[in-house]
C-alpha cells in the first residue's frame, strides 16, 4: 500500500510517498494510518489539520483501507 504525500507532508517525511508493503505494518483504517503517522513523524501532530484521501475522495477516520486503494495525506490546503 502506497501513501502519497504533498506539501509539508512531503517535507516532513522526506519522500513523496510511503510504501507500507516494504515496512510491513499496513494500517487498516484512516484512523490507524493517522496514528501511525503521528507516532512515526511527530511533526504531523503540529499541523493545523490533516486530512486523508482514499481513491481521491476525502475520507473520515472510520473508512477501511484496502491494499489496492490510492491513499493520500492532505495537509492544510492553501490554493488560490
Amino acid at each position: 500500500m502506497e501513501v502519497l504525500l504533498f506539501g509539508i507532508a512531503k517535507d516532513i517525511v522526506g519522500e513523496s510517498k510511503i510504501d507500507f508493503a516494504k515496512s510491513g505494518d499496513m494500517p487498516r483504517s484512516v484512523a490507524a494510518l493517522r496514528d501511525l503517522l503521528n507516532k512515526t513523524y511527530p511533526e504531523f501532530a503540529k499541523l493545523s489539520s490533516l486530512a486523508v484521501a482514499v481513491n481521491s475522495e476525502y475520507a473520515l477516520d472510520d473508512v477501511t483501507l484496502r491494499s489496492g486503494d490510492e491513499i493520500a495525506i492532505i495537509p492544510p490546503v492553501s490554493g488560490g
Binding site: F6, G7, K46, L47, S56, E57, A72, V77, S78, G80
Partner: protein, 139 residues
Amino acid sequence: MKKTIIEIVDAIDVSKTYMELSSPKSGGICVFIGTVREFTQGEEVVSLEFETYRKMALQEMEKIAMEAVKKWKLNSVVIRHAIGTKKIEDPVVVVGASAPHRAACFEACRFLIDTLKERVPIWKKEIFKNKTVWVSAHP
C-alpha cells in the same frame, strides 16, 4: 447545456476567460483573479510555489462547479488554477461565472473561490529571502 471549464495549468491566460463565459443567455459575468502580492504580513515575497494532487484537485473543482451551477442556475463556470513557480503579479487562479442576472454571478463567483480555498488539494509555499513557508500548515 451548461458549460464548465476546469483546468490546472502551468500559466494562466486571463484574457480568454471572458470569451469562455460569454453567452447570449447571460446578462452578467463575474470573474475573480487571484494574483501574487509582493508583501505578506509586511514581508517581501520572492515567489510562490504551487503543487497539487492533480487527480483529486480536478475532481473537487468539478464538484464545486456543479454545486454552483445548480445553486445559482449559471450558464457557465470557469475554474482554472496555476501550479509551479509564480512571481509577483502573476495570476495564480481565475474563477468566473455567468448568469442571467448579476446577483447570481457575483455570489457564485465568491463561492467558487472561497470553496476552492477550503477544499481543493493545492498547496502554496511562500519563498522569502531567508526562509520558505507552507501557507496555513501550522496554527
